[in-house]
Symmetry: C2
């Protein structure tokens, strides 16, 4: 199949200020850019997802590419490689894909959970007013019924732990420009998405000003014409 | 270059019972097998390393391939791909290599350190008698001068943490046969090495009998004619 002369429609989760914040959507946004496929972003709030295609999908990202629609960032990435094999692959080999999945599993277990304990209330407060009750109800269910306020209370004391959890990534990007090595791979987009998310909502900076992750984070922000840069971004570094 | 008709000599770190125990050496042993290159193992104890090539190398694995000698498992893996490009690659793409390095960084930070706190005294006790004083001195230096006994005291209480640290690997091998996906990759050998090491020295089992890692661990033990299997192995599972 030749590259599309149409844009692929991408439903993005937006905050009250209109910024796209979901780390999963950012994976897809970068995946499209990686392959040079035009993207038509469509903003949607948390409570707008059931209104897309009669509620067929529960989560974003959702793409529409001609007659094909799908959700789930990994399914989308693999679809893009299948549907547009002439474009730069997201996964040049099955092992690149599998390794990236294990990297994601590590990030989910060791980093993302800790980030939630710092930033979940900030996401609530940054969400569109009409989305806040839904966000609070669903997220408080996930944290065993704790209020978002209680869940994030005393978060400053937990910042050192979340910073320490990033040590493997720090060691890696001290050696390589990107997670993928000399060039960015899908694993970069998986790892970078949470930093865009934090930048979108943080009321306290995540990282020390001299964190060695900074070079890699700036390189990722610079990719593809700086699609994730936004003047409304909040400080990620102290 | 054609495949070697000679074997590559591999210096292996052995215990008092003659078993090869170093997780780094097992990476290289599996890497050679992966590429179908014959291996001539040479046993050496901790204190025997300075006697190899007049002390040129500080650590095992060390390989000798004709006029080429080197240490460091990653350097060896990359050398094998360069020197024997007609054989199955360890890294088919630069991103496979880079992703495997981040997987290693995660394992080092979150898993291997915790394993040391469980098993360092067991390694000492399993080492050749002439190596024990050296092992104790160097390892106690690394843990800020604590005795190996103090460092591993109360270890049963820390088993749940080390098991929990393996959650990302567990999630991954519930989905894929190997870390590399359908087929083993160098990242499998990196992740599997510590389990061979533990099996060689453990006086308490690391994992619950029904751990979902078991299928993957057995698959890795089965590879290449079961080169890591040994009747002297100690129970890895309760």
């Amino acid at each position: 199949m030749t590259p599309p002369n149409h844009a692929i429609r991408l439903y993005e989760l937006v905050l009250a200020d209109g910024k796209s914040a979901s780390p999963y959507v950012w994976r897809t946004r970068y995946a499209l850019a990686h392959k040079g496929i035009p993207c038509e972003p469509v903003p949607v709030g948390f409570t707008g997802i059931p209104g897309i295609q009669a509620g067929r999908f529960k989560t974003v990202p959702i793409i529409e590419d001609g007659a094909t629609s799908m959700s789930e960032s990994w399914d989308i990435a693999e679809y893009l490689d299948r549907a547009y094999p002439d474009r730069t692959p997201l996964f040049a080999t099955p092992a690149e894909n599998a390794h990236a999945r294990l990297i994601e599993a590590w990030l989910m277990a060791e980093v993302i959970r800790k980030l939630a304990g710092i930033y979940l209330l900030d996401v609530h407060d940054a969400a569109r007013p009409e989305d806040r009750a839904y966000f609070r109800r669903t997220r408080e269910q996930r944290v065993n019924g704790m209020s978002l306020e209680d869940f994030t209370a005393g978060r400053e004391a937990r910042l050192p732990q979340v910073r320490e959890s990033l040590a493997p990534l720090r060691a890696h990007v001290s050696r390589f420009p990107f997670v993928g090595g000399a060039a960015p791979s899908y694993a970069d987009y998986v790892a970078f998405g949470p930093f865009v998310w934090v930048s979108s909502i943080a009321t306290i900076p995540l990282l020390a000003h001299d964190d060695t992750l900074r070079g890699w984070i700036e390189r990722c922000f610079d990719l593809y014409g700086g699609i994730a840069r936004d003047p409304r971004m909040r400080p990620l570094f102290e």
